[in-house]
Symmetry: C2
Subunit: 125 residues, 2 copies
């Protein structure tokens, strides 16, 4: 099932400034099922948070992943960081799921976009 | 050849503030070989630019990719955007390689990191 679509965040973002959180991680080798369950639960919770705008999440074959989540402002990010159930998941992440991660809170200052208007255009060139 | 290592940028970044460029893209279906050649050439050029700090690049099976590049300041990003050969590659990208992309210039304001000190710790719990 090849879904050639951009992440759900792609067209839903406001004009800058807004905020992004770049979470770069390397999973440890154990607990993939429990990791998936906790990640799915955190995803369900995150989308309900005030200020959440969307996310893009990719992982490669070497267990390195990048998740970029988008937020309306820095306070929304701080609120989500202190969310009780998320707090437990963060602790689990350090104890069981991740060998290494880096989390960067960023202010998005400038955006440019491109979208091919006619997908057949390339073929006709 | 399973290389369980973080992207080259992982440990080389200074304390914030620094800058990131989040490039989220969906490749078109044609020209994968030429795309790879141009991407490799741009990678070689980028690492030589003043202010370049590192990058993380991932792509999934649906041709959606995220490349996060890191820079010391906004001026370095602007200089690389106007680099002559990069300019040509950008135009090629729109004409031949990408169906869609979004490029976000971000000021990284806050960073937190985690690294497992003892990789065997998890096993012994």
């Amino acid at each position: 099932m090849k879904q050639r679509e951009m992440p759900d965040s792609f067209n839903a973002l406001p004009d800058p400034p807004y905020y992004s959180v770049i979470f770069t991680s390397r999973l440890s080798s154990g607990d993939p099922d429990q990791y998936a369950a906790v990640a799915e639960r955190m995803n369900q919770l995150a989308v309900q948070q005030p200020g959440f705008l969307g996310k893009t999440s990719l992982r490669n074959d070497e267990d390195v992943g990048v998740t970029v989540s988008y937020w309306s402002d820095a306070q929304s990010i701080a609120n989500w960081r202190e969310h009780a159930e998320h707090h437990i998941a963060q602790e689990q992440g350090r104890r069981r799921f991740y060998d290494e991660y880096r989390l960067e809170v960023c202010r998005v200052e400038r955006v440019s976009r491109y979208q091919r208007l006619d997908a057949s255009q390339k073929e006709s060139e």
